[in-house]
């Protein structure tokens, strides 16, 4: 277990260094906030003065040094646009994105695994072929198209589900949740499905492939030779082996779900971090962008550590090695 942690720590430091280096490059290049920060008829002098007061006139290395020093002391700075501490902004948006990602992950696991098993057990059945075809369309349609189609059908035409936002949220401490109200839950559905669709098909296909693979393995043959019931072999034995890689992929995918949430949140006006990031990009709000990147990097490290530990818990071979 210690080894897992140590290697993860090394990786975390590496990731964070790269992230801060990317932020460093961004300081220089991803637009200049001054234009967005000053009024329409601002003079050149006004803009120069603002640039100076933000420290943007200093050499890049010096700016980077300041940024690194501040970040290391836990201060991510103040948003140029909102003039509020970035940590506060992130904390405010975090629950929305995480709840969306959680719903999407649960949806994709809850549907992807059974469908994958179905396709593996009866690869030539009508149901399996249908699911396979649908899954192809699922991974072949851009998220933003799916999103707008869902809005058109379920919000505008049928009027069943809200088209945007989180609905009624309830504050539990600093965490605002949409899980506890009816409108919060219904609001989660469309964006959750949109976000889940890609991962769902991914998991379904992975489970199918792994399951087919496992079913042809010697130990499953041996289990058959021992006359164990088919259901037992499929769902208790084979599925467990087949799910091992699903853990890794799900973990990795959570990271890309957070990123894909940028698109979903834009389409559904979901007040999460993706929307914050997109707004920050169009305003060149450097502290927010840097914080977002650092956060995604951090999430990755955390998720991977969790996945590694989970893996070690589930797979006895690793458990023994890391013990």
């Amino acid at each position: 277990m210690l080894k897992v942690f140590l290697s993860r720590l090394g990786q975390a430091i590496l990731v964070m260094l790269v992230v801060s280096a990317v932020s460093f490059v961004m300081f220089r290049f991803v637009g200049d906030p001054v234009a967005s920060m000053s009024r329409e008829s601002a003079t050149i002098e006004e803009k120069t003065e603002l640039r100076r007061s933000l420290g943007l006139d200093q050499p890049v290395v010096v700016q980077y040094g300041h940024f690194l020093a501040r970040t290391l002391s836990g201060d991510l700075g103040i948003s140029y646009r909102n003039q509020r501490p970035v940590t506060q902004l992130i904390a405010e948006r975090l629950p929305a994105t995480l709840e969306l990602v959680i719903v999407a992950t649960l949806l994709s696991l809850a549907l992807g695994i059974p469908l994958g098993v179905l396709c593996a057990l009866k690869p030539n059945g009508v149901a399996a072929r249908g699911v396979q075809a649908l899954s192809l369309i699922g991974i072949s349609t851009p998220t933003f198209v799916t999103g707008i189609v869902l809005i058109l059908v379920f919000a505008v035409s049928l009027g069943w589900l809200p088209s945007f936002g989180r609905g009624q949220v309830i504050d539990l401490g600093w965490w605002s949740t949409g899980f506890l109200t009816a409108s919060g839950m219904t609001s989660l559905l469309l964006p959750g499905i949109t976000l889940a669709l890609y991962q769902l098909t991914l998991i379904m296909r992975l489970v199918r492939a792994e399951m087919i693979d496992v079913l042809s393995s010697d130990y499953i043959r041996f289990a058959k030779a021992r006359g164990l019931p088919a259901r037992y072999i499929h769902f208790r034995l084979a599925l467990r082996n087949a799910l091992m890689p699903v853990i890794t992929v799900t973990g990795l995918q959570i990271g890309s779900l957070i990123a894909f949430a940028i698109v979903t949140e834009t389409v559904f006006q979901w007040p999460g971090m993706g929307l914050l990031f997109i707004q920050a990009v169009s305003f060149a709000d450097i502290p927010v962008m840097a914080a977002y990147l650092l956060f995604v990097g951090l999430m990755f490290v955390i998720i991977n550590t969790v996945v590694d530990i989970l893996y070690a818990v589930v797979d006895p071979r690793l458990r023994a090695r890391s013990a």
């Binding site: 090394g10 041996f222 058959k224 030779a225 006359g227 164990l228 034995l237 467990r240 082996n241 006895p316």
Partner: protein, 576 residues
Amino acid sequence: MSTLQPPVLAIDDLRVEYPLADGSVFTAVERASLVIHTGEIHALVGESGAGKTTIGNAVMGLLEKPGRIASGTIHIGGKPLDPNKGSAEGVVLGRDVGAVFQDPMTSLNPLFTVESQLTETMRAHLKLDRAAARARALQLLKDVGIPEPQRRLKAYPHQLSGGQRQRVVIASALSCDPKLVVADEPTTALDVSVQAQILRLLRDLADQRGIGILLVTHNMGVVAQIADRVTIMHRGMVVETGPTAEVLRHPRAPYAKALIGAVPRIDARLERFPVIGEEGKGRAAEARAVLRSKAERTGAIADGGPILSVENLQVEYTTRGVLPGSKGHRFRAVDGVSFSVNSGEVFGLVGESGCGKTTIANVVSGLLKPTAGRVTYRGHTIAGEGMVRCVGPLRQAIQMIFQDPYSSLNSRMRIGTILAEPILFYRLASSKAEAAADVARMIEAVGLEADAAQRFPHAFSGGQRQRLSIARALGARPKLIVCDEPTSSLDVSVQAQILNLLKDLRDATGLTLLLISHDLAVVRQMCDRVAVMRNGKLVEEASAETLFSTPQHPYTRELLSLVPTLDRIRGEAQAA
């Protein structure tokens, strides 16, 4: 008594077919019949593709799709097997029929404990509760001779050794007291010593529990050791069947004779192996003569002097630590081994898996750097301390042939290209045309037709590939060829041919061979001198005659006693 009971297994006129994609039908088994009674071990032997495993699978209802039983019957405990369902009414797979597969490493699910995998069968078939199943599992582990059964119950497969795993597999097969056990190559993946134990266990089970065992194997030694009756198969057909001693001593069918004759003997050395029809003799002698003349011209023909010497060789592997700088676990694969090989002789290196023999082969052929000690070739150090700078020409003198003929030739390249590679690389030919001529000669020298150069490796059988592999090694005009288990993945009849070829080549061109093998019989037949290795150390070195007739070291004696051979039966035959 036993005649009143129905036989545990009766196969009558079985035919198994595989419909192919193009509409034709491949017949895997044809007109196969056999009967197994209580407490009887019936061996099903044959070379690869003989259809023996297909019969085992048919009995268990595990025929892989789209295979099907086309005709004939299988009765298990007197009850007929429904060819459509693949099972017999009233016969439950796992309860009445136990199975043991070849590879204990993959037969057990790595994610579940031994207990879970043992008890699930009992709970499914005998409706035992958890505690009862557990108690029975414990007893089973004791029965199959696993030490500390209590602790092993909680273990995962990867925590057990190969032999222990196979015992668990057997325990699992026995868990519901079956009348019949189908054991498909149960010892092939195991070392001799472990193999001997498992075979003894199987014999005991048959004798004490009265279980009928269908033993599918390719190993005649195993058959001779424990089988009561034997059925020999060839290309899906039964060629001979009867009591083991009778069949092995006096085989009637020509194929059976040839097969038994091809098994290398451990008791006495023969000049050549009897083979089933020698391949391509015609131009081989001619080509070999050319090779010999070339070798003589370069002035390096066997003179009997030392050609290779290994001095105090030591190889360590380090498993890498997680953090840089942290010391990983060290494992000494070869520990202070010294020996020397004389020009023109065949030097054998034997031992069980993991004893370090292949590591030595890798060091000698330059694939691995030793940790300490050195290897000299005709006085030049080619590996280890004081290694000479320019090893190129020295490398050329030492070539290697490998175990697996399927992976030793690059499947994406034509034979001609593969064989020309060393010739062109060492500039042994002045032009591509000359190289092609050389390649043709090599191919003929190993007994194949020269037009083989135009084809890809997949067009050849395993034995042919091994010949080509040898031809490639010859291309560099080596003085010494390291043969790393050259025949262990070949069928016995093919093995005999390849070994004969090696002997012929040695005789024709004065090559020196360093033969690495786990098979004592092969070593006995091939080698002039033999060294026995164990755990990275050399335990005994002697001339082959001395070693096999009067082994000095206890380990050598043990190894010799454990090898399942035909000799016992043959010996009895001669005595009779």
